[in-house]
């Protein structure tokens, strides 16, 4: 999913940086100091999860789980995923520094969008199965949207859109299915074992202390 340095036109890079900056401001505004430990630890979890490789056909894919991040962190997924990408760009040299904005937007914007849409459904779900279903749809949809964003950023940089979009999309259909299944299983477990986790970002400090 990473786009590397130098592949995009300056306009796309600038637009990505500006949009990501807006998302970061929004996300950080929701992130009170009290929530930072939780957000930081969860962001580290998503970083670790992105190192997990799942078998797929003859090779394996690594997880992105941006849908799950969106459901759990809400707007805070933006800074959390940004931090992960920044660390990857800086220490692993995945992606690149000049395209960090675009990459962040491509992964975090679908996460936040899907999270905001699906979170109420999951919270109000009457059983773990329906919650898992919603989580699975969210997981698959987030990847689909990310793929679309990647194809769009390539297209706006002047590459042959239809060819690129088809290629990127087709290559990621199995990934979507896997991410959907994984997210569904994870949400199922969380719903059964620790439903508070789904409210982690809506808690204010006072509620936390009362609890």
């Amino acid at each position: 999913m990473h786009i590397v340095d130098g592949a995009l036109s300056s306009e796309v890079v600038i637009a990505g940086a500006v949009l990501s900056a807006c998302g970061l401001v929004m996300g950080l505004r929701k992130l009170e100091m009290e929530l930072i430990p939780a957000a930081g630890v969860l962001s580290a979890t998503f970083f670790v999860a992105s190192l997990i490789h799942v078998p797929l056909g003859f090779s394996s894919v690594h997880l992105i789980l941006n849908g799950l991040a969106g459901i759990i962190l809400g707007w805070a997924a933006f800074p959390a995923l940004f931090v992960g990408l920044l660390l990857q760009a800086v220490f692993f040299a995945f992606g690149g520094i000049s395209v960090l904005g675009v990459n962040t937007f491509n992964i975090a914007a679908p996460a936040v969008l899907v999270g905001l849409m699906v979170h109420p459904l999951i919270v109000r779900a009457c059983g773990a199965r329906s919650a898992a279903l919603a989580g699975g749809v969210a997981g698959a949809m987030a990847i689909a949207l990310t793929t679309l964003c990647v194809a769009l950023s390539l297209a706006l940089s002047g590459y042959n859109f239809v060819a690129q979009a088809k290629l990127v999309f087709l290559a990621h259909i199995p990934v979507m299915i896997i991410e959907g299944l994984l997210s569904a299983a994870a949400i199922y477990l969380i719903f059964k074992v620790k439903p508070e986790l789904l409210h982690v970002m809506s808690q204010t400090s006072r509620e936390r202390n009362v609890k």
Binding site: L167, L181, V193
Partner: protein, 273 residues
């Protein structure tokens, strides 16, 4: 600190006394690691923004050479570095292979009836050079910074405090959670779990992720309580202070001049053409 990030780049940072002695011994050759982190971050940022603007092959090769020079100066361990650069290349290989075929232009050769264009090939080479130049500058200049120092440097560059705190927390817990992940993985192995292309695998790994999230959430609650007991009021005191030395200024000036001349040559060429 985190082994994971350590593996990633700062392979030979100061960890033991022996190494410290060695670093002092070779300090003249390790000048890159003694530069102010802020200078290094800004330099790489400006460098990468400028390099992606370049289109002329000679200029791209020049910037690649400059990066290569830095890479050699930093004396990073050879194999892991090559591996890292290769990872980046593997990311673009698909794009590179596709480009000659999807871009229209003068036909260069054809493969299975698909024409490959000269323009597409040129564009692919340009992207390859840009990406490699930037990676080779990032590895010696930024990947050698300690992750915590990196956070502090960002803070002194006026990156929002909350973002820096988030980064520091993430860095602190990546290794802890990676260990936790490995523990869960071992537990699964003990129960004869072998990953395959099956629904069972996806479900189990999904539970693994869910469990990891739950445990880290519980951990974060304990962390917050422990921090409150120690008087945490939402304010980290970032103790590291950086100071610019003459070396830093010289490095900043030189790289600034280099980047400026690259840009000037590019603009001149575009103007001439």
């Amino acid at each position: 600190m985190s082994d994971l990030l350590e593996e990633a780049g700062r392979a030979r940072t100061l960890t033991s006394d022996a190494e410290q002695a060695e670093t002092v011994l070779f300090s003249r050759r390790m000048w890159i690691r003694e530069l102010d982190p802020r200078v290094r971050i800004i330099t790489v940022l400006v460098f990468s923004i400028c390099v992606v603007q370049l289109d002329q092959l000679p200029l791209l090769v020049a910037s690649l050479c400059a990066s290569l020079f830095l890479l050699l100066q930093a004396q990073l361990p050879f194999l892991p570095t090559i591996k890292r650069v290769m990872t980046v290349d593997s990311f673009i290989i698909l794009l590179l292979v596709m480009l000659p075929f999807t871009t229209s232009g003068t036909e260069l050769f054809s493969l299975f009836g698909w024409p490959a264009s000269y323009e597409g090939l040129l564009q692919a080479v340009v992207i390859l050079l840009r990406a490699n130049a930037i990676v080779m500058a990032t590895l010696p200049l930024i990947a050698t910074i300690d992750a915590v120092t990196f956070g502090h440097a960002l803070a002194s560059l006026r990156v929002p405090e909350r973002l820096v705190h988030l980064l520091l927390f993430t860095v602190r817990y990546i290794e802890v959670l990676h260990t936790e992940y490995k523990r869960l993985r071992t537990a699964m192995k003990c129960r004869a779990f072998a990953p395959s292309n099956s629904l069972h695998t996806y479900k189990s790994v999904g539970y693994l992720v869910g469990m990891l999230l739950i445990r880290s959430f519980e951990r974060s609650e304990r962390i917050l309580m422990a921090m409150k007991c120690r008087g945490f009021n939402g304010q980290f005191h970032l103790l590291k202070e950086f100071s610019l030395t003459r070396k830093d200024c010289a490095f900043a000036l030189l790289s600034f001049l280099f980047i400026l001349s690259l840009m000037a040559l590019e603009v001149m060429h575009v103007g001439a053409a």
